[in-house]
C-alpha cells in the first residue's frame, strides 16, 4: 500500500477521508481492482454530511485528489472521476503471459548442450516411420478442389468492399455509436460500473435530511456482467480499434462451372461411372477392382493396409510377435508332429477366446507374422489356416521327390489332361465328389495327379506363392484319417496329391474305383471305395528292396475295373518292366519306347523287330512306371518317329525301334576309341543296371 502524500493539512485530511471511504466501498474488491467514484458523487456526499457548499467542496476535492498520487483523475463525457485501489495508485494490469509452460518447454532459457544427438533422437525407431493418416474433413477437401476462378472472384469482391476497420480514439464518437460487440475489445479489463449506476442511489437529491452514517455511500457495482455501452469509454491507455459494420456487399456472381465427371478409368481402360449403384458396379467389376486394389495396396510404400489371403487389416493395428513367440510356436508344432491350425496355436499357446473382441485381429496378426518367417510354411486353405515348420516329417513320405513329380506330372499343364472327359467339371462342382480309377503308379506310391477334376474339387491355394496345402482325408468305411499333401502346379510343373499310400495298400488294388468327396470343413475330405466280395488274383507288385516288379497273390475286397487290374494272366509281361529311377521316368518318350518294347507283340523279325501294342495296354503299362493320361499317350505316339498307327485297327500302334548296331560293330568301335568314349551302355543307360 502506498503512503499518503504530503499535502496541505486540509487537503490531506480530505484526500485521506475520501480514500478511506472509497477503500471501504471496495472492501471486497481485489487488491488491485480499480475503485471509481465521480467527483459529483463525492461532493454531494461530503456536502450533505458536513453542511458545506457543494460546488466549493467539489473544487476542494478535485484539488486534493488531483494532488494525491493514490488517485487517478479521469474525465469521461465531461464528468470527472477518481480511481484508486486498495493498494494505492491504480496501475492497469498487464495480462501478457510471459511465463507459460509451453514456452519454457520449447524455448528453454538455458538449454542443455547436446553432445550426442542420439541422446535426444531414439535410434530404435524404424528408418521409415509410419505416417499416421490425417482425416481431412469434406469441407477442406471441397475448399481444396474449388476452382481458382471462384477464389479469384472472392478476392476481388473483398478488395472492392469498403474498409471495415478504422481506428477510433476514445474521445471521438459518443457511446451509443460504438458497436456493442467491440466494447470489450476496447476495454482492457472488466470495468466496475461504480457510479454509472445511480438508479438505486437516492443520496444526492435528498439533501435536507441529516446524513446517515455509512449507508449513504453509493453502492459499488461489482465488476461482473459488463453493461456494454458506457463502459467502452472508460478504457484508459490502449487505443481501441473499433470496427464499424461494413455495408452489405452483394456477393460476386459465381462463374458457371462445367459439370464434373463421375467416370473414372482403370489402368486397363475400363471406365466405371460412380453414379451407378455400388452393387451394380460390384457385380460387374468386383473381381477386377479387387485385383487392382489388392495390387495397389501391396505396392503401397507405407504398407498402411496389409493382407493375408483375402483379409486386409491396418498395419498399425497388428499385434506384435517376438522371437520368443515364434520359437514357442515352432516347438509346439514340432511337438504335435503335424501342421497346426492357427486357431489351435492361439487357443493352446495364447489362451485367446474367439469371443474376445480382438480375436480376429490377433489371429490375422499371427498369420501375417508367420507368413513372413522363413521357418514357417503356410499349408492351409481358405477357412483353415494351417502352419507347418521346418523339421516336420514330409507328408506322404520320401519315395517321391517333389522336383521329380513336378516334372512327371507336367503333362497336366501342357494340355493333356483328359479328366473332364470322364467327369465334367460342372458335375464335380455340383456333386462335390470325384470318382476315378487307380493306376498302378498311383496305388504304389499313394500319389494322385492333380488333374482338372481333382482341382475342381479341392480348394485352390490361398496365397499366390503357396506351394502346397495339407488336407485331411477321412475314410468313413474304416474310421481312419490320413494327412494328404496337395502340391499345387507351378510354372511348367504339374500338381499332385501324396499321402494315401497306406490307405491304398491296405484297402485297394490298382484298378480300384475311389471317390473323394467334400465335407463341411474346407480341409476335410472323405475317401471311399466300393466294397466287393473277396477276390484273389496274381497281381503286379513292386519289391522295393529288390527294386523290381513281380507278380504276387493278392486278396482284395473292392470293386475293380478288370481292364485296369494288372493281373499276370492279362499283363504277364509287366514284370519285365525296368524299375527306372524316378528321375528317369520323367522322360516320357523313353518310357513309352520301353513299355512298347516290353509288352508289345513282336510282329517283326529278330533283325528288324516291330512291336504291336494297343492304346489300352499301353495306358496300363505306362502308368506302372509313371502317370500319364490317354491324351498324353496319343500325343506321344503321334509325335514319336518310331511309332505308327494301324490304319485298319483303331487304337492299335506299331513300334519299330531304330536298328541297333550289331555286337561286332559295337566291339570294333569300343576297340578303336576305348578312352574317349564312355563304357558301352544299354539302351537306357548303364546306370539303370547298376541301380538294379
Amino acid at each position: 500500500m502506498t503512503a499518503a502524500p504530503t499535502l496541505p493539512t486540509d487537503q490531506h485530511a480530505l484526500a485521506e477521508e475520501i480514500y478511506r471511504l472509497m477503500v471501504a466501498q471496495g472492501a471486497m474488491f481485489a487488491i488491485d481492482t480499480p475503485i471509481r467514484q465521480t467527483l459529483a458523487n463525492l461532493a454531494a456526499f461530503l456536502a450533505r454530511r458536513e453542511g458545506r457548499d457543494r460546488a466549493e467542496l467539489a473544487a476542494a476535492i478535485d484539488a486534493a485528489l488531483s494532488a494525491d498520487s493514490r488517485f487517478t483523475r479521469e474525465e469521461v463525457n465531461g464528468e470527472v472521476r477518481f480511481v484508486t485501489t486498495r493498494q494505492g495508485a491504480y496501475v492497469p494490469r498487464d495480462d501478457t503471459d510471459t511465463h507459460s509452460f509451453k514456452q519454457r518447454l520449447h524455448d528453454p532459457e538455458n538449454p542443455l548442450p547436446i553432445d550426442d544427438i542420439s541422446v535426444v533422437v531414439s535410434t530404435s525407431r524404424p528408418a521409415i516411420t509410419t505416417v499416421e493418416p490425417v482425416y481431412i474433413s469434406d469441407y477442406w477437401q471441397m475448399q481444396l478442389s474449388a476452382p481458382p476462378a471462384e477464389a479469384e472472384a472472392e478476392k476481388v469482391a473483398a478488395a472492392e468492399a469498403p474498409v471495415a476497420e478504422q481506428p477510433v480514439l476514445e474521445e471521438a464518437p459518443p457511446a451509443p455509436e460504438v458497436a456493442p460487440a467491440l466494447v470489450e475489445e476496447a476495454a482492457p479489463e472488466p470495468a466496475p460500473m461504480a457510479i454509472e449506476a445511480p438508479a438505486p442511489v437516492p443520496v444526492v437529491e435528498v439533501a435536507p435530511e441529516p446524513a446517515p452514517a455509512v449507508l449513504e455511500i453509493p453502492a459499488p457495482v461489482e465488476e461482473v456482467a459488463p453493461e456494454p455501452a458506457p463502459m467502452a469509454i472508460e478504457a484508459p491507455a490502449p487505443v481501441p480499434v473499433v470496427e464499424q459494420p461494413a455495408p452489405p456487399v452483394a456477393p460476386a456472381p459465381r462463374p458457371a462451372q462445367p459439370p464434373r465427371s463421375t467416370v473414372f478409368t482403370l489402368s486397363d481402360g475400363t471406365a466405371i461411372d460412380l453414379r451407378r449403384p455400388v452393387d451394380e458396379i460390384m457385380a460387374e467389376y468386383g473381381d477386377v477392382l479387387a485385383r487392382v486394389l489388392a495390387e495397389r495396396l501391396e505396392h503401397d510404400p507405407l504398407q498402411r493396409i496389409v493382407s493375408f489371403g483375402r483379409k486386409y487389416y491396418p498395419e498399425a493395428n497388428l499385434a506384435s510377435f517376438g522371437k520368443n513367440d515364434l520359437r514357442k510356436i515352432r516347438d509346439y508344432i514340432l511337438e504335435r508332429n503335424e501342421p497346426l491350425l492357427d486357431t489351435e496355436i492361439i487357443a493352446d499357446l495364447y489362451y485367446h477366446n474367439p469371443r474376445q473382441a480382438d480375436y480376429e485381429g490377433f489371429r490375422f496378426s499371427l498369420n501375417y507374422r508367420l507368413h513372413r518367417e522363413k521357418d514357417f510354411e503356410f499349408v492351409g486353405v481358405e477357412g483353415a489356416y494351417l502352419w507347418a515348420t521346418r523339421g516336420l516329417p514330409i507328408t506322404g513320405g520320401k519315395r517321391v521327390k517333389a522336383a521329380e513329380m513336378g516334372q512327371i506330372t507336367s503333362y497336366l499343364v501342357e494340355g493333356y489332361d483328359d479328366s473332364p472327359e470322364l467327369q465334367s467339371i460342372e458335375a464335380i462342382k455340383q456333386s462335390g465328389s470325384v470318382t476315378r480309377l487307380l493306376t498302378f503308379f498311383e496305388w504304389e506310391y499313394g500319389v494322385l495327379p492333380l488333374d482338372a477334376g481333382l482341382a475342381a474339387l479341392l480348394p485352390p491355394p490361398l496365397l499366390p506363392e503357396q506351394r502346397s496345402a495339407v488336407l485331411r482325408f477321412e475314410s468313413p468305411q474304416h474310421y481312419t484319417t490320413y494327412l494328404v499333401e496337395v502340391r499345387f502346379p507351378a510354372g511348367n510343373r504339374g500338381g499332385w496329391l501324396q499321402g494315401l499310400e497306406e490307405f491304398f495298400h491296405e484297402h485297394l488294388v490298382p484298378g480300384g474305383l475311389i471317390t473323394i468327396s467334400r465335407t463341411g470343413e474346407p480341409n476335410l475330405f472323405h475317401i471311399t471305395y466300393e466294397e466287393g466280395p473277396e477276390q484273389s488274383e496274381r497281381l503286379l507288385t513292386f519289391d522295393e528292396k529288390k527294386n523290381r516288379l513281380a507278380f504276387a497273390n493278392v486278396s482284395f475286397y473292392c470293386v475293380v475295373d478288370e481292364d485296369q487290374l494288372p493281373t499276370q494272366s492279362r499283363y504277364g509281361r509287366l514284370n519285365r518292366l525296368k524299375a527306372f529311377p524316378m528321375g528317369e521316368r520323367r522322360k516320357a518318350e523313353l518310357m513309352l519306347e520301353h513299355v512298347s518294347e516290353t509288352i508289345g507283340e513282336q510282329v517283326g523279325s529278330p533283325a528288324a523287330p516291330r512291336y504291336a501294342v494297343t492304346l489300352d495296354d499301353l495306358y496300363v503299362a505306362f502308368n506302372v512306371l509313371r502317370p500319364g493320361s490317354r491324351a498324353y499317350l496319343k500325343a506321344l505316339l503321334e509325335r514319336g518317329e518310331d511309332f505308327s498307327a494301324d490304319e485298319s485297327t483303331p487304337g492299335l500302334y506299331y513300334y519299330t525301334p531304330a536298328p541297333r548296331a550289331s555286337a561286332e560293330e559295337v566291339e570294333e568301335e569300343a576297340d578303336e576309341l576305348p578312352e574317349e568314349r564312355p563304357p558301352l551302355r544299354q539302351r537306357y543307360s548303364s546306370r539303370y543296371d547298376e541301380d538294379e
Binding site: 490425417v134 478442389s145 467416370v263 453414379r275 486394389l293 487389416y313
Partner: protein, 49 residues
C-alpha cells in the same frame, strides 16, 4: 472431386484405412472394394451437389 483424377487404389485411401480401423477386424477384399467404392461415390456426389 472430379472422378477423372481418381486413381483407383490411391485416391482417398486414407479414408478407407480409417474405415478399416474403425471396424476393428480384418475385412475381406470384396468388402474393402465395396467400401472404397462408397467412399469414392460419396466424394464425387458431394462435389457435384
Amino acid at each position: 472431386m472430379d472422378a477423372k483424377v481418381i486413381v483407383f487404389g490411391e485416391t482417398a485411401i486414407d479414408r478407407l484405412l480409417q474405415w478399416l480401423r474403425s471396424t476393428g477386424q480384418p475385412q475381406d477384399i470384396m468388402d474393402l472394394v465395396r467400401q472404397y467404392l462408397e467412399i469414392l461415390s460419396k466424394a464425387v456426389r458431394e462435389e457435384n451437389e
